[in-house]
Amino acid sequence: MLRYTLLRILGAIPTLLLVIAIAFMMVHAAPGGPFDDDRALPPAIEENIKRYYHLDEPLPKQFLRYLSGLVRGDLGPSYVHVDYTVNELIADAFPRSLKIGALAMALALLAGLGAGTLAALRHDSWLDRVVMAISMTGISIPVFVFAPILVLLFAVKLNWLPAGWTSSSGVSRYLLPVVTLALPQIAYIARLTRASMIDVLQRDFIRTARAQGLGTMNVVWLHALKPAMLPVLSYMGPAIAAILTGSIVVEQIFGIGGLGHFFVNGALNRDYTVVLGIVVFYAALIVFLNLVVDILYGAIDPRVRYR
């Protein structure tokens, strides 16, 4: 197991390098630079700034410089937020994004598994159709459409929840962003669970469990849930990526200064180091989380384990 993990981590390094290289090229390929504005800089100053940030060097040299900084764990200074380094920005923003993302993921799993199981148990009934229809809307309606609707309803009209992240410091400010982020995933996981659960419920060992008089709840909880979860587990990898990207919209709407916010603004402002830093960070995160998912898969399915 340890050897497997180490091998996976080692194998991820070339992937990460490739990601960084591609991101680097793309970011520099976009027209415009971090210091462009309506108001043009005096040429002497512009030259000076470029020299200070090594932006006047040929691209390969800049790339190597970036990599050597990366190896030392230094992601560079931000070109726009000149008072902060990229490391500081990420260190500040990530825990926020993490909390919201993790909560959203947990909510998505719980609600999705629950709804999907319910639909599977009553499949082809009206309840099943209702759950599936709701989940379909959850998948089809984009975040930036229903998030403002939720805000209008719960914050403006009913005043139950804060409309923005910075307006309160308690639990209530997590609710809307977490739910918004989780909704499309709930829908997707519900559908996956339903299909998988229906399939599992047909299997022979479920018939055995029923013949043992375990009752539906026990049958589902003890016997059906673990195998039914396997496709959901496989989906976790892309789901995590989706939450990371979905967080961009949510952060804009609720004014949360998380990684998504800095990522988008960094791209728009051509803040190369911020964008690259977050790309590296996200890539490493996704690789790591996929590894965790694989290990979890083995935890559930013992036949995979004894390879």
Binding site: R203, F205, T208, A211, G213, L214, L222, P227, P302, R303
Partner: protein, 584 residues
């Protein structure tokens, strides 16, 4: 008052009636056999007792169990009956047990959900049950996952789970069909021992099992109960035509016309064949070791063995489907070498193979006509379409299928018809040697005989040589000229048909023969001839591989490998072959 009363039960799926007005009863402690061919409705009847039918089933009738009206019971009430008062064992334990949970957990769940034990006592009781069903190392098996156990052990676990709550009635749906014959004998014996006064409803298609283990029997045909009565009476004087047909079709070891030994030259020879597998990072698995054999023209050799015996591996190696580690195969004087893709075309044409399950062997998207003509496209591409069609028709005629089957799809054929199509496909090129890997195992008893007859007919007409793999000794008895007995990849005995069954030389052969249930209620079932299970192929016993389970074993057997000797025309690998007498 009887324990279980089934009155006028009918089960329909849409327009299809699978169980038609069936009524019977079971008394306390009684053992009743429910017999029928596939599709006769036996399983459906059993499932309906416990309310386990699928949602599309339309049920009518009445089922009374003790004081509970099962057909009108709510799910709650049914759950109180299930496992606690009626236990059920299913056919394939690999599918019937949850592969994701440890064995102990699954059994514990039964106790806990019915609140029959506290958390503290639970494990002890489960362990006790596992020991009762004969698991050799209950501690380890408690924590094992189903895929880590052998087939026999899994079925024991199933039995344990069905009986652990102490039910009054045990329903066993084909409990031994998926098992080797020696293991089957053990499980049937276990069943007798362990059920005490629990009533038993044993569902099976094997009349031998019914004869040996059921006091009464019920016969179903196409959903209707056509005969019922004490087993001895039914066997002695069957009333219904279907029962008579069934009894007649049962292959028997003791009373059968066997083909005379074949003469003629050897057409296929195997010399010291060994096959082993090795997965990356794992141990080497020796599937076949040092097997010698020769096949004559027009002869049928049966290769007999249980799971792990290497029969399939041997055949695949001969056909070039898996690499042979050492040894050679010689066909018509020329050695056959290399994987099948690189062999000469004539060799590929002359050696053909028929599989066990026709449903998976035929491409479901191709019509019969295309399936059967496919080999022609490869080996005789010059043929015109019309010529091809003629050949296809001839092949179908050979296997006894009329023209109308040309355009059918595999799913529109019955098991027997599908297997005939597979045989037609194998025969269309006029091969010299036909390999049959459990070709009739998946077929109903009556159909089986027809296919065997067909094979014999073709052999008589064309001089086809057949290598017939089977675990079913009764089938082997009826069609083979000579028999090879394999155990753990080693050849134990080679004998003529008559000699093998009347005077087996190897203790294993003898045990195999004894393990087959005799379809005669008058004959008491023999004690299970073998204890234990086939050891792991990764760790074969030293010396004679069979010695740990052999009741005739001596010291020499564990020390040295027994050489192959010839005794009265039989080749046998046993140190004590000339000392022990196994004739019957």
């Amino acid at each position: 008052m009887s324990l279980l009363e089934v009155d006028n039960v009918s089960i329909r799926y849409g327009d299809n009636t699978v169980v038609d007005d069936v009524s019977f009863s079971i008394d306390r402690g009684e053992s009743v056999g429910l017999v029928g061919e596939s599709g006769s409705g036996k399983s459906q009847t059993a499932l309906s007792i416990l309310g386990l039918l699928s949602r599309q089933a339309r049920f009518s009738g009445r089922i009374r169990f003790d004081d509970v009206e099962l057909d009108k019971a709510t799910e709650e009430q049914l759950n109180r009956v299930r496992a606690r008062r009626i236990g059920m064992v299913f056919q394939d334990p690999m599918q019937a047990l949850n592969p994701y949970l440890r064995v102990g957990r699954q059994l514990r769940a039964v106790l806990r959900c019915h609140e029959l034990a506290t958390a503290a006592e639970c494990d002890a009781r489960v362990m006790e049950m596992l020991e009762r069903v004969g698991l050799p190392d209950a501690q380890r098996q408690f924590r094992a996952y189903p895929h880590q156990l052998s087939g026999g052990m899994r079925q024991r676990v199933m039995l344990a789970s069905a009986l652990i709550a102490g039910p009054d009635l045990l329903i066993a749906d084909e409990p031994t069909t998926a098992l080797d014959v020696t293991v089957q004998a053990q499980i049937l014996e276990l069943l007798e021992e362990i059920r005490d006064d629990t009533a038993l409803l044993l569902i099976t298609h094997d009349l031998g099992i019914v004869a040996g283990h059921c006091e009464r029997m019920l016969v179903l045909e196409s959903g209707r109960l056509v005969e019922s009565g004490p087993t001895t009476a039914v066997f002695a004087a069957p009333q219904h035509a279907h029962t008579r047909a069934l009894l007649a079709a049962v292959p028997r070891i003791d009373r059968v016309d066997i083909p005379p030994p074949a003469t003629g030259q050897s057409i296929l020879g195997v010399d010291g064949a060994s096959v082993s597998y090795r997965e990356r990072g794992k141990q080497r698995l020796q599937a076949v070791k040092g097997v010698n054999m020769s096949l004559r023209c027009g002869e049928t050799i049966a290769v007999v063995g249980e799971s792990g015996s290497g029969k399939s591996s041997l055949v695949r190696a001969m056909l070039g489907l898996v690499p042979m580690e050492s040894g050679r195969v010689v066909y018509a004087g020329t050695p056959l070498e290399g994987p099948v893709e690189r062999r000469a075309r004539e060799h590929r044409r002359d050696l053909q193979l028929v599989f066990q399950d026709p449903a998976s062997a035929l491409n479901p998207q191709m019509r019969v006509r295309n399936i059967v003509s496919e080999p022609l496209l490869v080996h005789e591409p010059g043929l015109s379409a019309r010529a091809r069609l003629k050949r296809v028709n001839a092949a179908l005629e050979q296997v006894g299928l009329a023209d109308e089957y040309l355009l059918r799809y595999p799913h529109e054929l019955s098991g027997g018809q599908a297997q005939r199509v597979a045989i037609a496909r194998a025969l269309i090129l006029g091969p010299k040697v036909l390999f049959c890997d459990e070709a009739v195992a998946a077929l109903d008893v009556s159909v089986r005989q027809q296919v065997l007859d067909l094979l014999q007919r073709v052999q008589a007409d064309t001089g086809l040589s057949i290598i017939f793999i089977s675990h079913d000794l009764a089938v082997v008895r009826s069609i083979s000229h000579r028999v090879l007995v394999l155990y753990m990849g080693r050849l134990l005995e080679v004998a003529d048909n008559a000699a093998l069954f009347s005077h087996p030389r190897h203790p294993y052969t003898s045990a195999l023969i004894d393990a087959v249930p005799v379809p005669d209620p008058v004959v008491a079932p023999k004690k299970a001839p073998l204890r234990g299970e086939v050891p792991s192929l990764l760790n074969p016993p030293p010396g004679c591989v069979f010695h740990p389970r052999c009741e005739h074993a001596r010291e020499v057997c564990s020390a040295t490998l027994p050489p192959m000797r010839d005794i009265a025309g039989t080749r046998v690998a046993c140190h004590r072959a000339d000392e022990i007498d196994l004739s019957r």
